[in-house]
Structure formats: structure tokens, C-alpha cells
């Protein structure tokens, strides 16, 4: 897949990478099981810090899109797909909305768990 990074953008570089991986998983460019390039290689290719790439990968792992294994690098989770990506987007939107209305995270969690 194609990774592109805009140094002039207001969006952080790690976020730019994460958005592109999410989009690629959602539209099937990155099929489940596909391995992502090692962080060191991707960082070298884009002339960015390796820790920035690792931060993006860690974020995607927390979102349930990637899995990271020792010695095997990062790969797309077998159960990741458009649905996973959509859930992450909705969660982001919910968080943003809650912040806007001054609702703290514990309250938001309570709101969700009482419904579950």
C-alpha cells in the first residue's frame, strides 16, 4: 500500500499514518493477515522518526486493527475489516462529542455500560 506523509499538515504524522492504514483496511487494500513494513523501514522510507511509526502502529493495535508479535512485526488482524474501522471512527466521534459537552470519560463509560 501507499503511505504518504505531509510535513506541512496540522495533523500529526502518526495520525496521518494511522488514518491511511485504517482507510486501506476498510476498503480491502490491506487484507486481513497482510504484514505491514517493519517500523524501521517505513521510517527510513518516509524520512521520519521510527518512534512515530511505532506510535501509529500501537494506536492501530489498541483500535483492534493490527496485531504485533515479537519477531514478526505488525500485521492486519484476521478479524479486522470495514466494521472494525467504522467502530473506531464512531468511538472517536463519540469522544469528541462528549468533550465538547464537558462529559468526562468515566461518565461516558457509565453511559455505555448501562446500555450494554
Amino acid at each position: 500500500m501507499l503511505f504518504r506523509v505531509d510535513q506541512a499538515s496540522t495533523v500529526s504524522i502518526a495520525e496521518q499514518l494511522a488514518v491511511q492504514v485504517r482507510a486501506a483496511v476498510a476498503d480491502g487494500t490491506l487484507a486481513p493477515g497482510t504484514r505491514l513494513p517493519p517500523a524501521r523501514e517505513l521510517a527510513g522510507a518516509l524520512d521520519i522518526n521510527m518512534h512515530t511509526v511505532l506510535r501509529a502502529y500501537a494506536q492501530l493495535r489498541d483500535d483492534g486493527i493490527l496485531e504485533m508479535r515479537q519477531g514478526r512485526g505488525a500485521s492486519v488482524r484476521a478479524d479486522a475489516g470495514a466494521g472494525t474501522v467504522r467502530l473506531v471512527e464512531l468511538a472517536d466521534a463519540l469522544l469528541a462529542e462528549a468533550r465538547k459537552h464537558g462529559v468526562a470519560l468515566p461518565e461516558l463509560l457509565t453511559l455505555i455500560t448501562t446500555r450494554g
Partner: protein, 323 residues
């Protein structure tokens, strides 16, 4: 993902054989005719064995007449058949090279036959002194230059003026990665690996012979393994093909060595076969027939690597090279 490339039409060269190509291919039948005619003419007068090698003192080795005729005539025939294959459209870009190799092989084998049988007929002895005649036989190998010269030269580097590009902002960089699994090479590596162990065990059991064979087969297995999983990347540094299993770079073209790149269907025949191919004016890493990236280099040669969906990386490479 949406299409991120902009494209222009590709001009193509007519791959059909010209009249001069046909003449060159027809000429390749000359060695076959010469060997066949002389064999028919001389057959009754030829001894059972013909001289094969000479040194200063005389004939050192001989070969059965039938075997020598079959080998030299067979090679001449193969050359003529290779010439016919070279008329196909798919081989247009390597037609001249094919004709050269076929002509040289056919000429050389005809020369060997003529010198060996001709000397016996001319002198009337089964083991004649050679003098400088074997040199003439070798010189007949230059016959290949005739069809080579007859077949018209085709320009290499038929890359369009404005290849597809990926629009990148001034502050933007792009990098593209793919990993390809090649089951064919993995299977080959596995089979050859087992064979290596088998030969090695046998070699130890027999106390020595065959150890060289084990090493050779082992090395071939390792080469197959190197092509079992390939990682191809395009970024600000250039085009890179790395063996993902061994971590060994197989090919690295820096951006300043690249004029442009395009997506093209790779027919293995046109690039000399499968695996890592090197031919005059072009080289390639071919692991599958089908789509691939063809790169025109600043030194005028071409490099190709097969990848699924090559449009985006080819366009990115062109964009980065043009910066």
C-alpha cells in the same frame, strides 16, 4: 482506495517480424542444410569413429560418427527452430539476441562437424593431422553475426514521454510497500533442501563422493528460498527488491539512476524466463507472469519486477524520480 494516479496513453512499437527478420531466420537453416548434405554425401566413406580433439602430436579423443553427427546436427537444428520461435511477437525485444545466440551455436557445431568429418574425407585417414583447421571450425561460430546484423535494431526504452504520476505536494513524501509470496519457489526450495540433506547423508555414508553435489544443490535451494517471499518498496531513495526470508537485498535502484517507470504486463518469455534474469539492455526479477513495474534507467537499460497492481508504485516512482 481511490485511484491516486494520473495517466497518459502508451505508444507501442510494432512487434511483428519484418522481411529482414524472416531472411535472417531462413538463413539459420543453412547450417542444417550444410550438415545434412555433407553427411549424406560423405556417409559411405566415413569411418566408425571421428576425431574429436587434437593436440600437437595428433588426435587425442574420438567419438562415434553417429553421435558426433547427432550432436552437431541437432544443435544446428535447434538453432534453426529457435529462429522460428524468434519470429513470434512476444519475443520482439530479444529477437536479435536470440538470432545471435542461435546462429553462433549452429555455426560452431557445423564448423566442428565440417572440420572433423571433412579432414577425414580430405586426407583419407581416420586420424588426420589437424594443422590450423580446428580454428576455422571455431571461426564458423561467427556465423551468428549474419542473422544478428540482418535483423533490424529495435530501440530500447519505449517509455512514454509523460508516464503516470502520483500528485504529491511539495511538503509531501510517499512510500509504497508490498510483500509477495511465491509458492513455486518455496516448493522448489523445500524439495531441493530435502535433496541436499539426502545427498549429504548418502555422501557421508559412502565416505566422500557427492559432497560437491550436496553443496551445489544446497546453494540452488538457498537461491530459490531467497525468491520465496519478496518485499518490493518504492520511496524517496528508489526502488528496492528485498528477499523477505533471508533479509538480503536483491536489487536496489537509486532514484538518480531512474528516468521513469510504468506499469506493464510482463511476459516471462520476453525477459528471458523466471527468476533473476539478465539480458543485454534489460534485467528483471520475474516471479509471476502478469503485471509488473518496468523502469527505464538513466543508462538506457530497462529493469522489470513483477508485482500485483503495479500502477500506483510505477506512478510514484516516476513522480519521485522527476523531483
Amino acid at each position: 482506495m481511490p485511484d491516486q494516479t494520473t495517466n497518459d496513453a502508451l505508444p507501442t512499437l510494432d512487434p511483428r517480424a519484418t522481411g529482414r527478420d524472416r531472411l535472417a531466420v531462413g538463413l539459420l537453416w543453412l547450417p542444417v542444410l550444410v550438415v545434412a548434405a555433407t553427411a549424406l554425401l560423405w556417409w559411405d566413406r566415413l569411418p566408425a569413429r571421428l576425431p574429436q580433439q587434437w593436440d600437437a602430436t595428433g588426435v587425442t579423443t574420438t567419438a562415434p560418427t553417429e553421435v558426433l553427427l547427432a550432436i552437431t546436427g541437432g544443435i544446428a537444428l535447434l538453432g534453426a527452430l529457435a529462429g522460428l520461435a524468434a519470429l513470434a511477437r512476444g519475443t520482439a525485444d530479444i529477437r536479435r539476441t536470440l538470432l545471435l545466440i542461435a546462429g553462433c551455436a549452429a555455426g560452431l557445431s557445423t564448423g566442428i562437424w565440417l572440420v572433423s568429418a571433412g579432414l577425414v574425407i580430405a586426407t583419407g585417414t581416420p586420424e588426420p593431422a589437424a594443422g590450423g583447421w580446428p580454428l576455422l571450425g571455431v571461426l564458423l561460430g561467427a556465423f551468428g553475426l549474419i542473422p544478428f546484423a540482418l535483423s533490424p535494431r529495435r530501440p530500447i526504452g519505449q517509455v512514454p514521454r509523460s508516464p503516470a504520476s502520483v500528485p504529491l505536494a511539495e511538503s509531501e513524501t510517499g512510500a509504497w510497500f508490498t510483500t509477495m509470496n511465491v509458492p513455486m519457489f518455496l516448493w522448489l526450495a523445500g524439495i531441493l533442501g530435502v535433496a541436499t540433506v539426502g545427498i549429504a547423508v548418502l555422501s557421508v555414508a559412502l565416505g566422500g563422493p557427492g559432497s560437491g553435489g550436496a553443496v551445489t544443490v544446497g546453494l540452488v535451494a538457498l537461491c530459490c528460498l531467497a525468491f520465496g517471499r519478496l518485499r518490493v518498496s518504492v520511496d524517496r531513495r528508489g526502488l528496492r527488491v528485498v528477499s523477505a526470508l533471508l533479509g538480503v537485498p536483491l536489487r536496489y535502484l537509486r532514484l538518480d539512476q531512474i528516468v521513469s517507470a510504468r506499469a506493464q504486463t510482463i511476459v516471462p518469455m520476453e525477459w528471458g524466463g523466471w527468476g533473476y534474469r539478465i539480458m543485454p539492455g534489460r534485467s528483471a526479477i520475474v516471479v509471476a507472469g502478469g503485471p509488473g513495474i518496468v523502469v527505464e534507467r538513466t543508462n538506457g537499460t530497462l529493469f522489470a519486477v513483477t508485482v500485483p497492481e503495479p500502477e500506483l508504485p510505477a506512478a510514484l516512482l516516476s513522480t519521485l524520480a522527476a523531483r
